[in-house]
């Protein structure tokens, strides 16, 4: 009877498990295979390389090529830098905003809907909107604001008494967010704007289950709001924080649209973007980079799983 109990569910699970295995294993093994052969989409000198075949076996040649390629280490560093920065910004802002809108005030419903709406903007639209309408140094808000400040200061220079003071002020130059030095920050900014609502949403739902009597007791004992936040609210939110960190890391390790739109990888290239550049022609190198991306994702996942696992156990 007991063995029968297990057999039937297993049989019923089989189609789903098999499908999942196919869905995961086929792409992964094809990627592994391509990463060990010469496979380019077009090569006029060596047409035999343009079809995937075991006779083009290359061993670790693709890996060696990728490791020495321009920007490989830069891309790894950037992947980690962009993800970490976005995580810090969204968790800190998310906590602050969630606690703020947790209080009762008139118009709370509207405020909450407005707060969450950036999350429903498509990533490419988000990037186009930010880079062209907000961050553009000439036609965007950035350029218009700088030009506005400059012209106001310019007007104040003609003032009879205070003019000399404003003459000391420099003429401001707008920052270009498509430049190599700044493009990573542009990506961080726009993604953080889009994903802070996600953190707010998760934290807000979780705050609603916070024990109010505990807080009342703390108030009676004379605990300040700040010490209540640190000692009661933050521990209460440990689990949602872990979940926000995990889900966001998964999504942001594969950022592509924002990078393409901001500066085409100049200064903000991450591993997926590097894969995208190789897929123009060199599928072997793209696959090898893909395997490196799997390794990087797994290293990060080990840390994350430990962290999440720990907070779920507590």
């Amino acid at each position: 009877m007991s063995s029968n109990n297990r057999t039937l569910p297993r049989i019923l699970q089989t189609p789903a498990v098999v499908l999942l295995l196919i869905w995961m294993l086929v792409p992964l093994s094809m990627t592994l295979y391509f990463s060990f052969i010469r496979y380019v989409l077009n090569n006029t000198r060596r047409p035999e390389w343009t079809t995937p075949s075991p006779s083009n076996w290359r061993g670790f040649g693709n890996y060696e090529y990728v490791l020495n390629a321009k920007d490989f280490w830069f891309a790894i560093q950037n992947s980690v830098f962009i993800v970490t920065s976005i995580l810090i910004i969204t968790v800190v802002l998310g906590l602050g905003i969630a606690v703020l809108v947790n209080r009762k005030f008139p118009g709370r419903g509207i405020v909450r809907v407005l707060l969450i709406s950036p999350f429903f903007v498509m990533p490419a639209v988000n990037a186009v909107l930010w880079i062209n309408m907000i961050l553009d140094p000439v036609l965007g808000l950035n350029g218009l604001a700088v030009a506005g400040i400059n012209s106001v200061v310019d007007g104040l220079r003609d003032f009879p008494v205070l003019g000399w003071f404003f003459n000391l002020w420099p003429v401001l130059e707008p920052i270009s967010f498509r430049a190599t030095q700044t493009s990573a920050y542009a990506v961080i900014m726009m993604v953080a704007w889009q994903w802070t609502p996600f953190a707010v949403l998760i934290f807000m739902t979780s705050l609603q289950s916070e024990d109010e009597s505990q807080k009342e007791a703390a108030t009676l004992d004379g605990a300040s709001p700040w010490s209540q936040f640190i000692n009661l609210t933050v521990p209460h939110l440990a689990r949602p924080i872990a979940i926000v960190v995990m889900i966001q890391s998964i999504f942001h390790l594969s950022l592509y649209a924002e990078i393409e739109i901001v500066s085409r990888g100049s200064g903000n290239k991450n591993l997926p973007y590097l894969i995208g550049e190789f897929t123009n022609n060199n599928i072997g190198a793209a696959s090898a980079t893909g395997i490196f991306a799997v390794i990087l994702a797994n290293i990060i996942a080990i840390f994350l799983l430990r962290m999440v696992g720990k907070s779920l156990m507590d």
Binding site: N42, R46, S266, S287, V294
Partner: protein
């Protein structure tokens, strides 16, 4: 799971392609991938008449230049068959024709293939067979604000020197009133910033490769060209030039923010400011010239099941009748007809009446020299007709953008570009 999605990028593309090809096997429907430039966008509207006449339904996939190239290359190379008609450029057409990725085009006598400008026809053929039909063609030229040069007391002449161009830009530069002397491309990408920088390099006597196809970015000619370019843009260009390509500069120009702009001749038909004058591209005295040659053409990928309908549509869209249809269309008119493809377009009186740029454009196209020479041992002006060039050009272009934004010096950027180009050419088996 997520990491798998990263790696499966190329693979999933193929799966999607296969499933869509399966879905539209029967109906008279064409899926057309186009670049999101003005003339192509207009075509979607003009072609409504074609659907009415023939009953062929047209599905447009309008993509940004760089994205279009990636999509179309992967789809065509793997025989995906996602598209029935693709927009390709002069860089791809001869290579793809040779690889058998696109079908040869034979049109009826009334299409008048001899009417297509010789430079265009040559650039889109392989071994004398036409593989892509030009929708519009272009060269590059200087477009400057005559009102501003007159006010500043400077002149710009045909094939001017770069020193004089710099001086003219300096004279017009007035950032406090929102006018920048020179707007030039800087956005990374071989078809974006690199296209312009290559013409500058050509004019200084530099070339991409030597006879053995070894990159030559470490030569003094390249250094002189890129140094001049970076200084010109940093001194007299708008802020954020490293992010500007054709469409971005067009927006700036039409806002009245640019003094001079050196770019595709096709831009002339989209300029909405008054007082624009034209001059042939500046030259530092090199016979290769300083203007590029490019065509956006339409081709039929070999994977499609609707090859006959696709060819019929291309025959219509690149015909003399199409030019008439745009000219007589209530939304567009003669100032917006696609140019640079046919000699007959320039002979239309209504077009001549509205297109002040026509003569300059025709001269620029005729003077472009795409063929291989001793100095430049490869085909192509602002590109190199080899499959590896997009990768090489984009890698170098990112370095030049870094030099433009001040993250690297010109020497560092060119050295990094040389190393990257060398690695890519070695990987491709050239040496």
């Amino acid at each position: 799971m997520k990491s798998l999605r990263n790696t499966a990028l190329g693979l999933s593309m193929g799966i999607v392609a296969a499933s869509t090809a399966f879905a539209d096997g029967h109906a008279k429907e064409l899926t057309i991938a186009i670049v999101n430039n003005g003339h192509m966008i207009n075509m979607q509207k003009v072609a409504e008449a074609y659907t009415e006449e023939t009953g062929v339904k047209l599905n447009w996939v309008s993509l940004e230049e760089g994205v279009l190239r990636e999509q179309v290359t992967s789809d065509t190379a793997t025989g995906g068959g996602q598209y029935d008609i693709i927009n390709i450029g002069m860089q791809e057409a001869p290579i793809w024709g040779a690889a058998g990725w696109i079908e040869p085009l034979n049109f009826s006598a009334e299409y008048d293939v001899d009417d297509i400008l010789p430079a265009m026809r040559e650039g889109l053929s392989h071994d004398g067979t036409l593989y892509a039909a030009p929708f519009y063609g272009e060269s590059s030229m200087v477009m400057y604000r005559k009102d501003l040069t007159d006010a500043a007391g400077v002149t710009i002449v045909d094939n001017d020197s770069w020193d004089n161009i710099t001086a003219a830009a300096a004279a017009m530069h007035d950032p406090e009133n929102g006018v920048y002397g020179a707007c030039l491309r800087g956005k990374p990408g071989w078809g974006d910033g690199m296209a312009f920088v290559t013409t500058v390099a050509n004019s200084f006597g530099a070339a991409w490769f030597d006879k053995d196809m070894k990159p030559t970015l470490d030569t003094p000619e390249w250094n002189a060209a890129v140094t001049m370019y970076v200084n010109l843009l940093n001194s007299y260009g708008p802020p954020g030039s490293e992010g500007n390509s054709f469409n971005e500069i067009l927006a700036l120009y039409n806002e009245g923010k640019c003094g001079l702009w050196i770019d595709a001749t096709i831009a002339a038909s989209f300029l909405e400011v008054d007082g624009v004058a034209y001059a042939q591209s500046p030259n530092a005295g090199n016979p290769v010239g300083a203007n590029w040659l490019w065509a956006w053409a339409m081709a039929v990928p070999s994977g499609t099941e609707n090859a006959d309908e696709a060819k019929a549509f291309i025959e219509w869209a690149t015909s003399k009748e199409y030019v008439q249809a745009v000219g007589n269309h209530p939304d567009f008119g003669w100032a917006k007809v696609p140019t640079g493809q046919r000699a007959s377009t320039y002979a239309i009186p209504e077009f001549q009446a509205v297109a002040g740029f026509a003569a300059a454009e025709m001269a620029a196209i005729d003077s472009a020299a795409p063929g291989a020479t001793d100095l430049k041992p490869y085909v192509g002006v602002q590109f190199v007709a080899i499959p590896e060039f997009p990768e090489v050009g984009t890698a170098v272009s990112q370095e030049i953008a870094a030099a433009l934004s001040g993250a690297k010096s010109v020497e560092e950027a060119l050295a990094a570009g040389q190393a990257a180009a060398d690695a890519i050419m070695k990987e491709a088996g050239y040496y």
